[in-house]
Symmetry: C2
Subunit: 192 residues, 2 copies
């Protein structure tokens, strides 16, 4: 997605140890027009890959919400965001998966109420970054618990220097990223 | 906002102690079409109240992000969401305010990078619920730290049986809610 690539080149920053800062338009400040375009682009890419009949989009709070909401809007289906802290409104019997957070250094719990994910759902999983793939893999296991069908994985930015794509390939679904970032030996970003 | 009121009447639930569950379309699952309409309605209401020249919308993660993103989109300005856990990408010198969380029972920190909030900003503050008003008041103090001008407060649902509106009145800005919920002595919801 050319506009996204140009924005990453202009504003993205490798702050060390593979951490890419995109706080100006995805992770702290959000550019609404850009994020809505991401949603339309995900919808277009998955349709071109033959993915159809999606009934729900799923992401994990927090930074996946923008692009996932935009994708859900483009597909005219609800968005469900997995909670990391159980709200008092969540009933017992929720689906739960855990993933280590490489940037936060602890285990993250991901919870979805069975009220909003059912065995007849066809689900697109959307997140901001594909890096280790551990969060997305945890969400995929959570979808599996519910009996729903995972139809595809979309991420705004793929760090190709991390093993996320390889980790997710056994899921056997299309993996779409709107921009890819590689790092050279000097730590310079290459965006494409 | 009639569509929102009807949705709360149909799906909202008072689960006790003043806690209103709206997980089906705001707080866990989001209806994208409804949330985009909320954004347009906030833009229309604030314009009708004479609020102009808004440069940024601010909310707190997590559940404010949907309606705040929709409002930012309607106004064609960026959305900034205050972080509750400091990401490693956030530089020193961030704005910080704290609020007790009545539903979580601990102190919540709210952080915004000075990169995305400046003294010449004119800010709309959008959140999902206006209840105690403590979170919104903390965000208002954070905006004050930055020197930016708070132009208005918008909340999707106002619990009129809690003192939020009274707490925020000293801010001296318009307070807009798209739906109001009251509880009678039997704990039945009245939505208007």
């Amino acid at each position: 997605m050319q506009e996204l690539i140009e924005r990453i080149v202009a504003e993205g920053e490798h702050i060390g140890r593979g951490i890419i800062k995109l706080d100006g338009f995805i992770n702290h400040q959000i550019d609404p027009a850009l994020v809505l375009k991401m949603g339309r682009e995900f919808a277009r890419c998955f349709a071109a890959l033959g993915v159809s009949g999606v009934t729900r989009v799923i992401t994990a709070e927090v930074s996946g919400i923008g692009p996932a909401l935009a994708t859900a809007n483009a597909l005219n289906v609800p968005l469900v965001y997995a909670r990391k802290h159980r709200p008092i409104t969540m009933p017992d019997g929720f689906y739960l998966a855990t993933a280590p957070s490489p940037t936060k250094g602890h285990i993250v719990e991901l919870m979805v109420s069975p009220q909003y994910l059912a065995a007849d759902d066809r689900v697109l999983l959307i997140d901001d970054f594909l890096a280790s793939g551990l969060t997305i893999d945890a969400l995929a296991r959570l979808i599996e618990q519910s009996g729903a069908t995972l139809c595809g994985v979309g991420c705004v930015v793929e760090k190709v220097f991390e093993p996320g794509r390889q980790r997710l390939e056994p899921l056997g679904v299309p993996i779409v990223s709107l921009a890819k970032i590689d790092l050279d030996d000097e730590g310079q970003m290459h965006v494409y």
